[in-house]
Point group: C2
Chain length 339, copies 2
């Protein structure tokens, strides 16, 4: 049974186990600090496909395949796949699932979609309704640039505040049972839509930081915990500017110092000095890949025991800023504990 | 506790109650067979907004407000809102929730999104994790035409097989407890992605019928039931061609006659003889509005007791058919019983 701790904050007493995980990435991601930690690396940005969109579909399919192999299960074992991406109408995910015989539920919370998928998957297992649920999140630099910004062929310079959309995917298989010590999802929180009036789609970190803080603040309050109760608070993806703003919000509004315990996936995927990636990584695949390639293995090795993973998403479209809309954001989270 | 009946088929023993529901619609929808059954009708297709996208946001906000009023609860009572739409990056929904203080999870399964939202919401309540969850689905004719087909100003003729995207929204408040007889969600099924190779985006009914049949077939088999066990099997939205194909598939593959018990929301929203709506209605708001304006009230009046609601969605984008992709489809369902 799940327990309602507070509004939209759930505790999972059975604690669904992360049976296996995998991350795949493109060339630039594989040359960063997480080099050697991906299950597969694609040096060809098209992954042998005719279009960027189809390349992202192939990226997803590879991540799902590797996660199922890591969990030692087959497609037939999976009761449901929950996933999403940033391409219009979540097509990268839908097409990836077309060739699998796995029931599929699509979610959309922009770059918070992977955290949202994990929260919903944990609840489906905790309720007793399912045994194995897989989750995947992806993004592709070229597909996202084409859709949200400019054609790559135009060679437009990114603005100084821009983040780089990661070419990456991460996938996880959650299970109702595991006899081995595994990272387990013990709590979940669903976020409010927060809009502080940022209108520049190159200022994603600034648009999302208040949503991350709103979710963190509620989670601390509703679970009666504080930053030092966690080995790691992992957001994805605020990058440089958003991280600075999140720390400022925590300091000003609650007197909390997040610097010691907080890291952001957008600052972990790339080397911001050696690589030309703006203020850090972004895109749904960034946090999914960093969680799967770096953080979960560090939990399995015993280095980290309690990780609060907060996905942050900007709920805009390519059209909405041109219509004068500001950028709403949302942050969903799961607490992952090694038990 | 939920019970896993089979892969992706869940039984809810506590049976979350539909505490209240509402549907809102545009002018043409309000002139059809469901005239007088909407909580609010908008004669101005822009709903007083500067853009079609913002008009759809206003449509969603109205449906949610009316559903909460019908359920006699306020925004503060809702633990989570689950919803979606067809506009790129689910912005109609995200923007509608921006002004509410309600945690928000976005889903995407095209026109099956409302059924998907109901299935996930029922599980969140059944698990004990939440008390009240609201769901909404919407579509807007002008926003969808602009995004998926041609600018309205161009005056392009629809093809003979085309369906009309409904300007409508439906919303529901689900609850863990109700002391009155209410329609309750007792089972859910999540669908596989099915692609039989249809490449014409004006042939949505043909693309979705095999997905509807795959989900129906599995549900009959896994729950050991047959069409005559239901007062109504309600799909949304196959319209004329898809309905014909679904009946053919059931007859050829399982010897079943669906004609007596099956109706399609796309054929219930409009009068196909008197109104110029092609082969029937489509769009996420069509099935959401027909369920909320017509079917749930008929359950409350005692006329219908067991309704199997199967949402059908075409998982394409505006770009994917131009890249030579065929149209994958998915169908999710919930069993609603009056108890």
């Amino acid at each position: 049974m799940a327990k309602r701790i507070a509004r939209s904050v759930i505790e999972f007493s059975k604690a669904p186990a992360i049976l296996g995980q995998a991350a795949v990435a493109g060339k630039i991601e594989a040359e960063g600090p997480l080099a050697g930690k991906f299950s597969e690396v694609f040096m060809d940005e098209r992954l042998g496909q005719p279009t960027w969109e189809q390349a992202e579909t192939a990226l997803q399919a590879a991540a799902i395949m590797h996660a199922m192999a890591a969990a030692n299960c087959s497609a037939d074992d999976i009761d449901l796949h929950i996933g999403g991406d940033l391409i219009n109408q979540c097509t990268a995910t839908g097409f990836a699932l077309r060739d699998e015989n796995i029931p599929f539920a699509g979610v959309y919370a922009a770059c918070a979609s992977f955290a949202l998928a994990l929260a919903l998957a944990a609840n489906l297992i905790e309720s007793g309704g399912m045994q194995h649920v897989s989750c995947c999140g992806s993004s592709h630099f070229c597909a996202a640039e084409k859709q949200f910004r400019y054609p790559l062929e135009l060679g437009v310079q990114p603005t100084p505040t821009a983040q780089r959309t990661a070419t990456a995917a991460g996938a996880i298989v959650l299970s109702s049972a595991s006899d081995k010590p595994k990272p387990r999802i013990t709590r979940a929180i669903f976020g409010n839509v927060i809009d502080m009036g940022v209108t520049d789609p190159s200022e994603m970190g600034a648009a999302m930081a208040p949503a991350a803080w709103d979710t963190l603040r509620r989670f601390f309050q509703d679970t009666n915990t504080q930053p030092s109760d966690y080995d790691l608070i992992l957001t994805g993806d605020l990058s440089q500017i958003g991280t600075h703003l999140l720390h400022e919000l925590a300091r000003q509004q609650a007197g909390l110092d997040l610097a010691l315990v907080h890291r952001d996936c957008g600052l972990m995927l790339y080397d911001l000095i050696a690589q030309d990636v703006g203020t850090g990584g972004s895109g749904l695949g960034c946090s999914a890949a960093v969680l799967c390639a770096e953080v979960l293995p560090r939990m399995l090795s015993g280095e980290l025991k309690r990780v609060l993973f907060i996905g942050t998403g900007a709920l805009l479209s390519a059209v909405s800023p041109l219509q004068g809309e500001s950028i709403p954001a949302v942050a969903h989270g799961v607490l992952i504990e090694m038990t």
